[in-house]
């Protein structure tokens, strides 16, 4: 059985899940950092502060726009793309490579937060060859019973 995802492991989990994620930080609803990954410990406080500022700015930007409060944000800048996602309990921000696919990254953020909140654990699949399984194709042969 898969272990439950804890807040302490969440930032690392996201970076392991996505090859384009360089660093991540998890904040609780009050903005206190719960975990970080991809930056040195002396810089983690700065990253958490910037993530807090980002979510505050998202709320400010949203006042001019129709629709409900934004749940996710994507900011493309010269050296990379920053994504953020939140639930009523958690805020997760990630610094990704510029070439990261938005839809995949946003889905990963949502999936990791879902897992943290007790949702379905993310299932990772491994190639049969890498897992030491049979080398032949898992597809059934045509005409075989």
């Amino acid at each position: 059985m898969a272990a439950t995802l804890t807040p302490e492991r969440t930032a690392r989990r996201l970076c392991e899940l996505s090859a384009d994620a360089r660093a991540a930080v998890l904040l609780d609803a009050a903005g206190a950092p719960a975990s970080h990954h991809g930056v040195t410990s002396d810089r983690s406080g700065d990253l958490a502060q910037l993530a807090r500022t980002m979510f505050e700015a998202v709320d400010r930007a949203h006042r001019d726009m129709p629709g409900g409060p934004p749940e996710q944000v994507e900011i493309q800048v010269d050296g990379g793309t920053v994504f953020g996602s939140r639930t009523p309990h958690w805020m997760l921000a990630v610094v990704a490579r510029r070439a990261a696919l938005s839809s995949l990254m946003l889905m990963d953020l949502r999936a990791v937060l879902g897992e943290l909140e007790g949702g379905t654990p993310i299932r990772r699949v491994t190639a049969a060859a890498a897992a030491g399984g049979p080398a032949e194709t898992p597809m059934p042969e045509l005409g075989a019973e």
């Binding site: 700015a57 934004p70 610094v95």
Partner: protein, 83 residues
């Protein structure tokens, strides 16, 4: 109807147009952009004159710089450890 074959000038023009389109696309991809998504996944673009746009861009740039610095600092340390 068969398309008329292009001469060397036509081919060169076609090539130049392709390169120009690629350059325009690359330029557009590099431009900063801010998008917010609601809970249904509906995306809205924050306009450059919109409230919070500049702040969001500056914050994201600082986050990227921070990670760059952190990685640059970690690299020589790793290189020293792995001869």
């Amino acid at each position: 109807m068969r398309e008329k074959r292009k001469g060397p000038i036509g081919r060169a023009t076609g090539l130049a147009e392709g390169v120009a389109a690629t350059m325009r696309r690359m330029q557009r991809d590099r431009e900063p952009a801010v998008l917010v998504y609601d809970e249904t996944g509906y995306a809205r673009l924050v306009q450059p004159d919109g409230r919070g746009y500049e702040r969001l861009l500056q914050t994201a740039e600082r986050m990227v710089d921070l990670v760059d610095e952190s990685e640059a600092e970690a690299k020589p340390r790793r290189a020293r450890r792995e001869p």
